[in-house]
Amino acid sequence: MCLSIPSKVVKIDSESNIAIVDTMGVTRKAGLELVEKEDIKVGDYVLIHIGFVMNKIDDEDALESLKVYKEILEIMDEDERQKLVLEDDNCENRGA
Protein backbone atom coordinates (compact mmCIF):
# COMPACT_ATOMS: atom_id res chain seq x y z
CA MET A 1 0.00 0.00 0.00
CA CYS A 2 2.78 2.38 0.77
CA LEU A 3 4.87 3.44 -2.19
CA SER A 4 7.48 6.02 -1.61
CA ILE A 5 8.05 7.06 -5.18
CA PRO A 6 8.26 10.84 -5.27
CA SER A 7 6.02 12.82 -7.58
CA LYS A 8 6.58 16.25 -9.09
CA VAL A 9 3.85 18.86 -8.97
CA VAL A 10 3.08 20.04 -12.50
CA LYS A 11 -0.09 22.03 -11.92
CA ILE A 12 -2.30 23.23 -9.09
CA ASP A 13 -6.03 23.62 -9.43
CA SER A 14 -6.91 25.74 -6.43
CA GLU A 15 -10.63 25.72 -7.19
CA SER A 16 -10.98 21.98 -6.70
CA ASN A 17 -8.01 21.91 -4.28
CA ILE A 18 -6.16 19.36 -6.37
CA ALA A 19 -2.57 19.05 -7.57
CA ILE A 20 -1.70 17.42 -10.87
CA VAL A 21 1.50 15.44 -10.34
CA ASP A 22 3.91 13.43 -12.43
CA THR A 23 4.96 10.09 -10.93
CA MET A 24 7.58 8.44 -13.12
CA GLY A 25 5.89 9.79 -16.21
CA VAL A 26 2.36 8.95 -15.08
CA THR A 27 0.08 11.94 -14.55
CA ARG A 28 -2.18 11.72 -11.53
CA LYS A 29 -4.44 13.92 -9.45
CA ALA A 30 -3.91 14.34 -5.75
CA GLY A 31 -6.00 16.09 -3.10
CA LEU A 32 -4.44 18.95 -1.14
CA GLU A 33 -6.58 18.55 1.99
CA LEU A 34 -3.66 17.44 4.17
CA VAL A 35 -1.22 20.24 3.38
CA GLU A 36 -1.03 24.00 3.77
CA LYS A 37 -2.00 25.33 0.36
CA GLU A 38 0.72 27.99 0.23
CA ASP A 39 3.32 25.30 0.93
CA ILE A 40 2.92 23.42 -2.32
CA LYS A 41 4.18 24.95 -5.56
CA VAL A 42 4.62 23.78 -9.11
CA GLY A 43 8.02 22.03 -9.35
CA ASP A 44 7.94 20.73 -5.76
CA TYR A 45 8.51 17.06 -5.00
CA VAL A 46 5.78 15.46 -2.93
CA LEU A 47 4.76 12.06 -1.60
CA ILE A 48 1.34 10.88 -2.68
CA HIS A 49 -0.62 8.31 -0.74
CA ILE A 50 -4.01 6.96 -1.81
CA GLY A 51 -4.80 10.08 -3.81
CA PHE A 52 -3.59 12.73 -1.38
CA VAL A 53 -0.45 14.81 -1.09
CA MET A 54 1.00 13.71 2.26
CA ASN A 55 3.93 16.08 2.45
CA LYS A 56 6.56 17.93 0.55
CA ILE A 57 9.95 16.28 0.13
CA ASP A 58 12.72 18.49 1.37
CA ASP A 59 14.85 19.01 -1.76
CA GLU A 60 17.90 20.18 0.08
CA ASP A 61 17.77 17.28 2.43
CA ALA A 62 17.39 14.76 -0.37
CA LEU A 63 20.29 16.35 -2.24
CA GLU A 64 22.41 16.38 0.89
CA SER A 65 21.80 12.66 1.56
CA LEU A 66 22.56 11.77 -2.04
CA LYS A 67 25.80 13.73 -1.81
CA VAL A 68 26.80 11.97 1.40
CA TYR A 69 26.16 8.59 -0.21
CA LYS A 70 28.26 9.54 -3.19
CA GLU A 71 31.11 10.46 -0.88
CA ILE A 72 30.81 7.19 1.04
CA LEU A 73 30.92 5.40 -2.25
CA GLU A 74 34.03 7.20 -3.42
CA ILE A 75 35.90 6.64 -0.17
CA MET A 76 34.81 3.01 -0.01
CA ASP A 77 35.97 2.38 -3.53
CA GLU A 78 39.45 3.52 -2.71
CA ASP A 79 39.39 1.62 0.54
CA GLU A 80 38.19 -1.47 -1.22
CA ARG A 81 40.82 -1.16 -3.91
CA GLN A 82 43.47 -0.97 -1.21
CA LYS A 83 42.01 -3.98 0.55
CA LEU A 84 42.10 -5.97 -2.63
CA VAL A 85 45.78 -5.18 -3.09
CA LEU A 86 46.54 -6.07 0.52
CA GLU A 87 44.57 -9.27 0.37
CA ASP A 88 46.36 -10.15 -2.79
CA ASP A 89 49.63 -9.60 -0.97
CA ASN A 90 48.63 -12.05 1.72
CA CYS A 91 47.38 -14.69 -0.63
CA GLU A 92 48.86 -18.01 0.42
CA ASN A 93 48.44 -19.58 -2.94
CA ARG A 94 50.53 -17.04 -4.73
CA GLY A 95 52.54 -18.62 -7.45
CA ALA A 96 50.83 -21.95 -7.00
Binding site: K8, D22, D61, A62, Y69
Partner: protein, 375 residues
Protein backbone atom coordinates in the same frame (compact mmCIF):
# COMPACT_ATOMS: atom_id res chain seq x y z
CA UNK B 1 14.73 25.87 -9.99
CA UNK B 2 15.65 22.93 -7.83
CA UNK B 3 18.90 21.12 -8.52
CA UNK B 4 17.19 17.89 -7.63
CA UNK B 5 16.02 15.77 -10.52
CA UNK B 6 13.27 13.20 -10.31
CA UNK B 7 15.77 10.64 -11.56
CA UNK B 8 18.02 11.25 -8.56
CA UNK B 9 15.13 10.48 -6.27
CA UNK B 10 14.22 7.33 -8.17
CA UNK B 11 17.69 5.95 -8.70
CA UNK B 12 19.85 7.58 -6.06
CA UNK B 13 18.37 5.71 -3.14
CA UNK B 14 18.49 2.37 -4.97
CA UNK B 15 21.97 2.57 -6.41
CA UNK B 16 23.54 -0.92 -6.17
CA UNK B 17 27.03 0.44 -5.50
CA UNK B 18 25.75 2.62 -2.70
CA UNK B 19 23.87 -0.35 -1.29
CA UNK B 20 27.03 -2.45 -1.34
CA UNK B 21 29.26 0.19 0.18
CA UNK B 22 26.78 0.92 2.95
CA UNK B 23 26.47 -2.81 3.68
CA UNK B 24 30.24 -2.99 3.97
CA UNK B 25 30.38 -0.05 6.31
CA UNK B 26 27.73 -1.69 8.49
CA UNK B 27 29.73 -4.95 8.52
CA UNK B 28 32.87 -3.05 9.59
CA UNK B 29 31.19 -1.19 12.39
CA UNK B 30 29.15 -4.21 13.49
CA UNK B 31 32.43 -5.88 14.54
CA UNK B 32 32.26 -3.70 17.64
CA UNK B 33 28.79 -4.90 18.63
CA UNK B 34 28.72 -6.47 22.07
CA UNK B 35 25.66 -8.55 21.29
CA UNK B 36 23.71 -9.58 18.20
CA UNK B 37 21.21 -7.05 16.90
CA UNK B 38 17.60 -8.12 16.56
CA UNK B 39 15.98 -5.33 14.62
CA UNK B 40 12.24 -5.18 14.20
CA UNK B 41 11.10 -3.34 11.11
CA UNK B 42 7.59 -2.46 12.19
CA UNK B 43 6.24 -1.60 8.80
CA UNK B 44 5.34 -4.03 6.03
CA UNK B 45 6.76 -1.59 3.47
CA UNK B 46 10.18 -2.12 5.04
CA UNK B 47 9.70 -5.90 5.10
CA UNK B 48 9.07 -5.66 1.38
CA UNK B 49 12.26 -3.64 0.74
CA UNK B 50 14.37 -5.89 2.97
CA UNK B 51 13.27 -9.01 1.12
CA UNK B 52 13.23 -7.50 -2.36
CA UNK B 53 16.81 -6.25 -2.14
CA UNK B 54 18.02 -9.29 -0.19
CA UNK B 55 19.39 -7.11 2.61
CA UNK B 56 19.78 -9.99 5.12
CA UNK B 57 22.31 -11.57 2.75
CA UNK B 58 24.32 -8.37 2.57
CA UNK B 59 24.66 -8.00 6.32
CA UNK B 60 26.72 -9.84 8.94
CA UNK B 61 25.12 -12.75 10.83
CA UNK B 62 25.02 -10.66 13.98
CA UNK B 63 22.20 -8.58 12.48
CA UNK B 64 18.80 -10.18 12.01
CA UNK B 65 15.39 -8.83 11.12
CA UNK B 66 12.20 -9.49 13.02
CA UNK B 67 9.24 -8.61 10.84
CA UNK B 68 6.67 -6.53 12.64
CA UNK B 69 2.89 -6.11 12.61
CA UNK B 70 2.80 -3.04 10.34
CA UNK B 71 0.70 -4.38 7.49
CA UNK B 72 -2.86 -3.09 7.81
CA UNK B 73 -4.35 -5.98 5.87
CA UNK B 74 -2.45 -8.62 7.87
CA UNK B 75 -3.69 -7.48 11.27
CA UNK B 76 -7.38 -7.33 10.36
CA UNK B 77 -9.19 -10.00 12.37
CA UNK B 78 -11.62 -12.25 10.55
CA UNK B 79 -14.64 -10.95 12.43
CA UNK B 80 -14.04 -7.46 11.02
CA UNK B 81 -13.85 -8.87 7.49
CA UNK B 82 -17.11 -10.63 8.26
CA UNK B 83 -18.47 -7.19 9.17
CA UNK B 84 -17.54 -5.90 5.74
CA UNK B 85 -19.18 -8.91 4.11
CA UNK B 86 -22.36 -8.50 6.19
CA UNK B 87 -22.50 -4.82 5.26
CA UNK B 88 -21.99 -5.61 1.58
CA UNK B 89 -24.86 -8.09 1.71
CA UNK B 90 -27.36 -5.53 3.00
CA UNK B 91 -29.98 -4.61 0.46
CA UNK B 92 -29.24 -1.75 -1.88
CA UNK B 93 -25.71 -1.32 -0.64
CA UNK B 94 -22.33 -0.58 -2.19
CA UNK B 95 -19.31 -1.53 -0.10
CA UNK B 96 -16.03 0.28 -0.71
CA UNK B 97 -12.57 -0.52 0.56
CA UNK B 98 -8.91 -0.15 -0.32
CA UNK B 99 -6.60 -2.40 -2.30
CA UNK B 100 -5.65 -5.81 -1.02
CA UNK B 101 -8.35 -5.86 1.63
CA UNK B 102 -10.80 -7.45 -0.74
CA UNK B 103 -8.71 -10.63 -1.06
CA UNK B 104 -8.29 -11.33 2.65
CA UNK B 105 -10.20 -14.39 3.79
CA UNK B 106 -12.81 -13.82 6.50
CA UNK B 107 -14.36 -16.73 8.40
CA UNK B 108 -15.93 -18.21 5.27
CA UNK B 109 -15.25 -16.08 2.22
CA UNK B 110 -13.42 -12.93 1.16
CA UNK B 111 -14.89 -9.71 -0.22
CA UNK B 112 -13.51 -10.69 -3.63
CA UNK B 113 -15.47 -13.94 -3.55
CA UNK B 114 -18.62 -12.10 -2.53
CA UNK B 115 -18.09 -9.63 -5.34
CA UNK B 116 -17.82 -12.52 -7.77
CA UNK B 117 -21.09 -13.81 -6.32
CA UNK B 118 -22.74 -10.57 -7.40
CA UNK B 119 -22.55 -8.14 -4.49
CA UNK B 120 -21.53 -4.57 -5.25
CA UNK B 121 -18.08 -4.39 -3.68
CA UNK B 122 -15.57 -1.94 -5.11
CA UNK B 123 -11.90 -1.44 -4.32
CA UNK B 124 -11.01 2.26 -4.38
CA UNK B 125 -7.87 3.94 -5.62
CA UNK B 126 -8.51 6.87 -3.31
CA UNK B 127 -11.06 7.27 -0.48
CA UNK B 128 -12.17 10.53 -2.15
CA UNK B 129 -13.93 8.41 -4.77
CA UNK B 130 -16.36 7.38 -2.04
CA UNK B 131 -17.92 10.85 -2.29
CA UNK B 132 -18.40 10.52 -6.02
CA UNK B 133 -19.91 7.05 -5.76
CA UNK B 134 -22.31 8.18 -3.00
CA UNK B 135 -23.44 11.15 -5.12
CA UNK B 136 -23.89 9.03 -8.23
CA UNK B 137 -26.01 6.51 -6.31
CA UNK B 138 -28.39 8.62 -4.20
CA UNK B 139 -30.87 5.74 -3.84
CA UNK B 140 -28.22 3.38 -2.43
CA UNK B 141 -26.39 3.06 0.86
CA UNK B 142 -22.66 3.38 0.42
CA UNK B 143 -20.37 2.04 3.15
CA UNK B 144 -16.65 2.77 3.22
CA UNK B 145 -14.72 0.03 5.05
CA UNK B 146 -11.76 2.16 6.14
CA UNK B 147 -8.45 0.45 6.90
CA UNK B 148 -4.87 1.36 7.59
CA UNK B 149 -2.43 2.75 10.11
CA UNK B 150 -1.81 6.42 10.91
CA UNK B 151 -0.83 6.87 7.26
CA UNK B 152 -4.29 6.43 5.76
CA UNK B 153 -6.31 7.79 8.68
CA UNK B 154 -6.24 11.49 7.72
CA UNK B 155 -7.55 10.61 4.26
CA UNK B 156 -10.59 8.96 5.86
CA UNK B 157 -11.02 12.00 8.10
CA UNK B 158 -10.90 14.26 5.00
CA UNK B 159 -13.68 12.21 3.41
CA UNK B 160 -15.78 12.36 6.60
CA UNK B 161 -15.31 16.13 6.60
CA UNK B 162 -16.39 16.42 2.97
CA UNK B 163 -19.40 14.15 3.59
CA UNK B 164 -20.61 16.51 6.31
CA UNK B 165 -19.81 19.70 4.38
CA UNK B 166 -21.47 18.47 1.21
CA UNK B 167 -24.54 17.15 3.06
CA UNK B 168 -24.16 13.64 1.70
CA UNK B 169 -26.60 11.45 3.61
CA UNK B 170 -26.05 8.00 2.09
CA UNK B 171 -22.35 7.51 2.93
CA UNK B 172 -21.33 5.64 6.10
CA UNK B 173 -17.97 4.65 7.57
CA UNK B 174 -16.78 1.41 9.15
CA UNK B 175 -13.54 2.46 10.82
CA UNK B 176 -10.64 0.01 11.23
CA UNK B 177 -7.80 2.46 11.62
CA UNK B 178 -5.12 1.10 13.92
CA UNK B 179 -2.20 2.71 15.71
CA UNK B 180 1.46 1.67 15.66
CA UNK B 181 2.65 2.64 19.18
CA UNK B 182 0.25 0.46 21.22
CA UNK B 183 1.00 -2.59 19.02
CA UNK B 184 4.75 -2.16 19.34
CA UNK B 185 4.41 -1.59 23.05
CA UNK B 186 2.42 -4.84 23.36
CA UNK B 187 5.21 -6.76 21.61
CA UNK B 188 7.89 -5.17 23.81
CA UNK B 189 5.91 -5.71 27.01
CA UNK B 190 5.56 -9.37 26.03
CA UNK B 191 9.33 -9.51 25.59
CA UNK B 192 9.51 -12.90 23.85
CA UNK B 193 10.65 -11.49 20.51
CA UNK B 194 13.81 -10.12 22.18
CA UNK B 195 13.95 -7.06 19.97
CA UNK B 196 16.75 -4.66 20.73
CA UNK B 197 16.24 -2.02 18.04
CA UNK B 198 13.55 -0.67 15.74
CA UNK B 199 13.39 0.67 12.24
CA UNK B 200 10.50 3.12 12.54
CA UNK B 201 7.83 3.28 9.82
CA UNK B 202 8.23 5.85 7.04
CA UNK B 203 4.78 7.03 6.12
CA UNK B 204 3.16 6.64 9.50
CA UNK B 205 5.84 9.02 10.72
CA UNK B 206 5.26 11.51 7.90
CA UNK B 207 1.77 11.96 9.37
CA UNK B 208 2.24 11.37 13.11
CA UNK B 209 5.80 12.61 13.47
CA UNK B 210 8.67 10.56 14.85
CA UNK B 211 7.75 11.72 18.36
CA UNK B 212 5.25 8.86 18.74
CA UNK B 213 8.13 6.38 19.22
CA UNK B 214 9.81 8.26 22.08
CA UNK B 215 8.38 5.79 24.65
CA UNK B 216 10.50 2.97 23.12
CA UNK B 217 13.90 4.41 24.01
CA UNK B 218 12.49 5.86 27.22
CA UNK B 219 10.70 2.78 28.51
CA UNK B 220 12.63 -0.10 26.94
CA UNK B 221 16.05 1.50 26.26
CA UNK B 222 15.66 0.48 22.63
CA UNK B 223 17.02 2.58 19.76
CA UNK B 224 14.54 3.67 17.10
CA UNK B 225 15.61 5.01 13.71
CA UNK B 226 12.83 6.20 11.40
CA UNK B 227 13.91 5.24 7.88
CA UNK B 228 12.65 5.73 4.37
CA UNK B 229 11.49 2.82 2.23
CA UNK B 230 14.35 2.80 -0.26
CA UNK B 231 17.07 0.17 0.30
CA UNK B 232 19.69 2.85 0.88
CA UNK B 233 17.45 4.42 3.52
CA UNK B 234 16.99 1.10 5.30
CA UNK B 235 20.75 0.42 5.29
CA UNK B 236 21.52 3.91 6.50
CA UNK B 237 18.97 3.34 9.29
CA UNK B 238 20.69 0.10 10.25
CA UNK B 239 24.07 1.83 10.30
CA UNK B 240 22.63 4.44 12.67
CA UNK B 241 21.27 1.65 14.88
CA UNK B 242 24.63 -0.16 14.92
CA UNK B 243 26.35 3.07 15.95
CA UNK B 244 23.86 3.65 18.75
CA UNK B 245 24.40 0.13 20.07
CA UNK B 246 28.18 0.37 19.86
CA UNK B 247 28.08 3.71 21.68
CA UNK B 248 25.59 2.25 24.16
CA UNK B 249 22.94 4.84 23.31
CA UNK B 250 19.18 4.31 22.94
CA UNK B 251 17.84 7.31 21.06
CA UNK B 252 15.06 8.20 18.69
CA UNK B 253 16.65 9.31 15.41
CA UNK B 254 15.35 10.13 11.95
CA UNK B 255 17.14 8.89 8.86
CA UNK B 256 14.27 9.85 6.56
CA UNK B 257 14.73 13.57 7.07
CA UNK B 258 13.62 14.42 3.57
CA UNK B 259 10.04 13.60 4.61
CA UNK B 260 9.79 13.06 8.36
CA UNK B 261 9.98 15.54 11.23
CA UNK B 262 9.51 14.99 14.96
CA UNK B 263 6.18 16.83 14.80
CA UNK B 264 4.75 15.32 11.62
CA UNK B 265 1.88 16.71 9.56
CA UNK B 266 -0.10 18.76 12.05
CA UNK B 267 -2.90 19.57 9.60
CA UNK B 268 -3.50 15.84 9.15
CA UNK B 269 -3.30 15.23 12.91
CA UNK B 270 -5.95 17.92 13.58
CA UNK B 271 -8.21 16.49 10.93
CA UNK B 272 -8.01 13.04 12.54
CA UNK B 273 -8.62 14.44 15.98
CA UNK B 274 -11.74 16.34 14.85
CA UNK B 275 -13.57 13.25 13.62
CA UNK B 276 -11.99 10.23 15.31
CA UNK B 277 -11.08 9.16 18.83
CA UNK B 278 -9.27 6.18 20.39
CA UNK B 279 -11.33 3.04 20.77
CA UNK B 280 -10.97 1.25 24.09
CA UNK B 281 -10.36 -2.17 22.52
CA UNK B 282 -9.35 -3.64 19.19
CA UNK B 283 -8.50 -7.26 18.51
CA UNK B 284 -5.47 -7.59 16.22
CA UNK B 285 -5.37 -10.66 14.05
CA UNK B 286 -3.05 -13.15 15.68
CA UNK B 287 -1.90 -10.74 18.38
CA UNK B 288 -5.12 -10.38 20.34
CA UNK B 289 -6.78 -7.48 22.09
CA UNK B 290 -4.75 -4.31 22.57
CA UNK B 291 -6.41 -1.48 24.50
CA UNK B 292 -6.51 1.96 22.84
CA UNK B 293 -4.87 0.59 19.73
CA UNK B 294 -7.44 1.73 17.16
CA UNK B 295 -9.78 4.59 16.36
CA UNK B 296 -13.52 5.07 16.04
CA UNK B 297 -15.84 7.87 14.94
CA UNK B 298 -16.49 10.50 17.62
CA UNK B 299 -19.95 10.25 19.19
CA UNK B 300 -20.98 13.62 17.64
CA UNK B 301 -20.77 11.98 14.24
CA UNK B 302 -22.37 8.66 15.22
CA UNK B 303 -24.89 9.15 12.38
CA UNK B 304 -22.03 8.34 9.98
CA UNK B 305 -20.77 5.31 11.91
CA UNK B 306 -21.73 2.09 10.11
CA UNK B 307 -20.75 0.03 13.16
CA UNK B 308 -23.37 1.85 15.26
CA UNK B 309 -26.09 2.21 12.64
CA UNK B 310 -25.97 -1.35 11.35
CA UNK B 311 -24.69 -2.84 14.62
CA UNK B 312 -27.47 -5.40 14.89
CA UNK B 313 -26.40 -7.26 11.75
CA UNK B 314 -22.69 -7.33 12.57
CA UNK B 315 -21.28 -10.55 14.04
CA UNK B 316 -19.37 -10.03 17.25
CA UNK B 317 -17.70 -13.32 18.10
CA UNK B 318 -13.93 -13.29 17.76
CA UNK B 319 -12.84 -15.75 15.07
CA UNK B 320 -9.37 -17.26 15.10
CA UNK B 321 -7.15 -17.95 12.13
CA UNK B 322 -6.93 -21.19 10.19
CA UNK B 323 -5.31 -23.65 12.57
CA UNK B 324 -2.25 -24.18 10.39
CA UNK B 325 -1.64 -20.45 9.91
CA UNK B 326 1.03 -18.95 12.13
CA UNK B 327 0.55 -15.34 10.97
CA UNK B 328 -0.05 -14.27 14.56
CA UNK B 329 3.27 -15.69 15.69
CA UNK B 330 4.98 -14.05 12.71
CA UNK B 331 3.35 -10.67 13.41
CA UNK B 332 4.63 -10.87 16.98
CA UNK B 333 8.14 -11.43 15.67
CA UNK B 334 8.35 -15.00 17.01
CA UNK B 335 8.54 -16.96 13.74
CA UNK B 336 9.55 -16.65 10.10
CA UNK B 337 7.19 -17.53 7.22
CA UNK B 338 9.16 -20.66 6.24
CA UNK B 339 8.33 -22.15 9.61
CA UNK B 340 4.69 -22.41 8.53
CA UNK B 341 3.82 -25.91 7.32
CA UNK B 342 1.72 -24.70 4.40
CA UNK B 343 3.94 -21.80 3.29
CA UNK B 344 4.29 -21.95 -0.48
CA UNK B 345 2.25 -25.14 -0.76
CA UNK B 346 -1.37 -24.80 0.37
CA UNK B 347 -0.83 -21.09 1.00
CA UNK B 348 0.39 -18.88 -1.87
CA UNK B 349 -0.47 -15.32 -2.94
CA UNK B 350 -3.13 -16.75 -5.26
CA UNK B 351 -4.61 -19.04 -2.62
CA UNK B 352 -3.90 -17.24 0.65
CA UNK B 353 -4.87 -19.14 3.78
CA UNK B 354 -3.77 -16.35 6.04
CA UNK B 355 -3.67 -12.58 5.86
CA UNK B 356 0.16 -12.33 5.79
CA UNK B 357 0.16 -13.94 2.35
CA UNK B 358 -2.32 -11.48 0.84
CA UNK B 359 -0.72 -8.08 0.84
CA UNK B 360 2.64 -7.31 -0.73
CA UNK B 361 3.48 -5.87 2.68
CA UNK B 362 2.80 -9.16 4.43
CA UNK B 363 5.85 -11.13 5.55
CA UNK B 364 4.69 -14.41 3.95
CA UNK B 365 3.99 -12.69 0.64
CA UNK B 366 7.37 -10.94 0.64
CA UNK B 367 9.18 -14.22 1.41
CA UNK B 368 7.20 -16.04 -1.25
CA UNK B 369 7.91 -13.49 -3.96
CA UNK B 370 11.55 -12.95 -3.20
CA UNK B 371 12.50 -16.42 -2.00
CA UNK B 372 14.91 -16.66 -4.94
CA UNK B 373 17.00 -13.93 -3.39
CA UNK B 374 17.21 -15.93 -0.20
CA UNK B 375 18.35 -19.17 -1.73
Amino acid sequence: MSELQLKDLYDGFRNPDTIRSLAKQIADEAKNLKMPLRIMEVCGGHTHTIMKYGLPQLLPDTISFIHGPGCPVCIMPKERIDHAIALAKMENTILLTLGDMIRVPGSKTSLAQERAAGYDIRPLYTPMDALKIAKENPDKRVVFFAIGFETTTPMTAAVIKATIEQNITNLFFHINHVLVPPAVDAIMADGKAQINAFIGPSHVSVISGAKIYQPLPDKYKTPVVVSGFEPVDVLQGILMIVRQQVQERADLEIEYTRSVTMEGNTIAQKLIDTYLQPRSHFRWRGIGDIPDSALEIRPEFAYLDAEKIFGDILPNEPIDDHKLCICGTILKGLAKPMECKVFGTACTPNTPLGSCMVSSEGACNAYYRYAGVLA
